[in-house]
């Protein structure tokens, strides 16, 4: 990673959710449409407090429901604007129909899920139990979101820009899959530089498909996800799959700690990867050669990297705040060559490093 130099006063202390709001304004997002739900309401609250409509012209609106909010994102994105929403697990379930439409419409958009424990109304405590929903579809039809998993307040800020860059590059919705820990905790963060929102001319150039009103001489731009001709509909699906193939080839992101000499590999994402880092340090003090692979993109999943590392380790421990979801992608990467174990906590209980260490010791014995 290239080193960044910054003035001291550019370092702020804030919650991950607040960082998302600041980063959205600074990135030049055109529209945010939200609905209150714990533990992510600070995103909407911070935006309302910062009043970006007076500075950048960004539209911020508290919708009547998560369903309305995601459809506002769909409508805004259809006009070529950079639009986003955020919610937490039950609210994200409500948005799934809209997300499927956004994916089908090949529209760029950012959806932030600050996960809490489920199922049902569940708890407001942190969880990672929406991994399946985020990476395997969630809504109806064959589609994928690009899923980014931040592990720090800094990444919550950075992934707003990265998310929109990827969304516009591939014309595909992006989900930032955070959790109640990174959303709520306060850390130092360097906010991204201010950049102006795109002008209508720039949008017309970047998004010739945008529904903006038809100038004379241009054919109507129609944002539709309906195609009754099965041959044409299959063609649409093939085009989507081609996009997913390109994304899988080019956008896999991950981070590794101490994997050069590791005999045991922990795979964990988001805030859990940081808990595991502490466990890894303690394990190494006891002479256990433990390394960590932290997938940053959960879709596309770092399959090849898991496969590569698996060739030199005795076992893999997948640590998640759920009953075992990402472990399926780890297992799929391995072709059963290495034992894969899972350690998870559920329902809002967060493991501490000693728990992970104990889980590690159990698989070593």
């Amino acid at each position: 990673m290239e080193s960044i130099t910054y003035m001291e006063d550019e370092v702020k202390l804030m919650k991950g959710n607040e960082a998302v709001a600041h980063a959205a304004i600074r990135y030049g997002v055109d529209g945010y449409f939200g609905y209150p739900i714990t533990p992510q309401s600070e995103i909407l609250e911070t935006l309302e407090e910062l009043m970006p409509w007076e500075s950048t012209g960004m539209v911020v609106l508290q919708a009547e429901s998560e369903i309305a909010a995601i459809n506002m994102v769909y409508g805004g994105a259809a006009t070529g604007k950079a639009c986003m929403t955020s919610s937490s697990s039950p609210g994200i379930s409500l948005k799934q129909e809209g997300i499927s439409y956004i994916a089908a419409g090949e529209l760029p958009a950012l959806i932030v899920n600050c996960m809490r424990g489920g199922p049902g109304l569940g708890t407001i405590q942190p969880s990672q139990a929406d991994y399946f929903q985020a990476t395997k579809g969630g809504g109806h039809g064959d589609y994928h979101l690009i899923v980014l998993a931040p592990a720090s307040v800094q990444e919550m800020a950075d992934f707003v820009g990265l998310g929109f860059d990827l969304a516009f590059k591939y014309r595909n919705p992006v989900m930032m899959l955070a959790d109640g820990i990174v959303g709520q905790m306060m850390e130092k963060v360097v906010l991204p530089p201010m950049r102006p929102r795109r002008t209508d001319e720039e949008i017309a150039q970047q998004c010739p498909w945008a529904v903006t009103g038809r100038p004379e001489g241009r054919k109507p731009n129609i944002m539709t996800t309906l195609e009754l001709d099965p041959v044409a509909m299959e063609r649409n699906n093939i085009r989507l799959q081609e996009t997913y193939r390109r994304i899988s080839e080019n956008e896999v992101r991950f981070e590794e700690h101490c994997t050069d000499d590791c005999e045991y590999l922990i795979v964990a994402f988001g805030s859990v990867a940081r808990i595991c880092q502490k466990a890894m340090e303690e394990a190494r003090e006891r002479g256990l050669k433990v390394g960590i692979l932290r997938p940053i993109t959960l879709w596309p999943f770092p399959t090849e990297e898991v496969k590569r590392l698996s060739k030199k380790v005795k076992a893999i421990l997948v640590v998640e705040l759920n009953a075992g979801q990402m472990i399926e992608d780890v297992r799929l990467s391995l072709e059963d060559r290495v034992p894969v174990h899972h350690y998870g906590r559920m329902g809002g209980i967060v493991m501490d490093p000693a728990d992970v260490l104990e889980a590690l010791n159990n698989i070593i014995e």
């Binding site: 769909y74 259809a78 529904v211 903006t212 944002m223 309906l226």
Partner: protein, 257 residues
């Protein structure tokens, strides 16, 4: 007089609007959608607004409205058109944004989006085709289906103790502070077509003037769903639909403007 002599500008009283293209409409013969489409095309054309017009199509019979009107369109998920219109208009305030929705879309699955967009006073026009039935899916009960009316899901007629009452959603919308103009029209006679066109023009002008939400309900026929001839459907509409859904303005705060 030859044909060419007759076709002088002075003699022409009606033509196909330029924005209505040559695609064959999928609507049943006798359906009101075609007439309302033509009126929307005429009004946009007369306002010179095609370069700023954004239509939001529903799920229902009019889902493919974009196949017939040569303007930019966004097709909505079922019932969500007012939410989509909200964002399209707020992010593009210089645009003429309107939704085109049926009774199931607007008054059943999309009730929340309809009421809240209207209550926020979004500067959009809502065109509401009320034919008292789900046309596209084959004639099931709609929220606006009349008491006693036979549909495929009320084969013995709608019974209020089972299905509740026909929903007078335009009256409800007229109560909201965010609406500036709520009117109920029809398009089954030459006179009613002229009035409906005026209402549409007014609704579109309200949107562009930032006066709030305008709603134009068009009480319509669905002769296929009602299982009647087009002529009989018009009679039945006058007798039964108009009794429950009387034609006329429900609200107009823009009368002096």
């Amino acid at each position: 007089m030859t044909r060419e002599e007759i076709k002088q500008a002075d003699n022409i009283v009606a033509t196909k609007p330029r924005l209505l293209n040559d695609n064959t409409m999928h609507y049943c013969p006798g359906c009101s959608h075609g007439v309302v489409h033509k009126l929307v095309a005429e009004v946009i054309e007369e306002m010179g607004a095609e370069h700023i017009a954004i239509g939001i199509a529903p799920v229902g019979c009019a889902v493919m409205a974009y196949n017939y009107l040569d303007i930019d369109w966004i097709e909505a998920a079922h019932g969500r058109a007012p939410a989509i219109a909200t964002a399209a208009k707020r992010l593009n305030p210089s645009r003429l944004v309107f939704t085109y929705q049926g009774d199931g879309d607007l008054a059943a699955i999309g009730t929340a989006e309809t009421i809240h967009a209207a209550n926020r006073g979004e500067n959009i026009a809502i065109i509401f085709i009320n034919n008292g039935i789900y046309g596209m899916t084959g004639g099931q009960m709609a929220p606006t289906t009349l008491e006693g009316q036979v549909t495929s899901t009320t084969p013995y007629g709608r019974r209020v103790e089972l299905n509740g009452y026909p929903l007078k959603i335009s009256e409800l919308l007229a109560m909201l502070d965010g609406t500036c103009y709520v009117t109920r029209q029809s398009v089954h006679t030459a006179a009613s077509v002229r009035k409906a066109k005026k209402a549409l023009r007014k609704a579109f002008e309200n949107s562009m003037a930032g006066r709030g939400t305008s709603v134009v309900e068009v009480v319509s026929t669905c002769n296929s769903g009602w299982k009647m001839t087009p002529a009989k459907a018009n009679e039945w509409m006058e007798e039964h639909m108009f009794a429950k859904y009387p034609i006329g303005d429900l609200k107009d705060t823009t009368a002096d403007q």
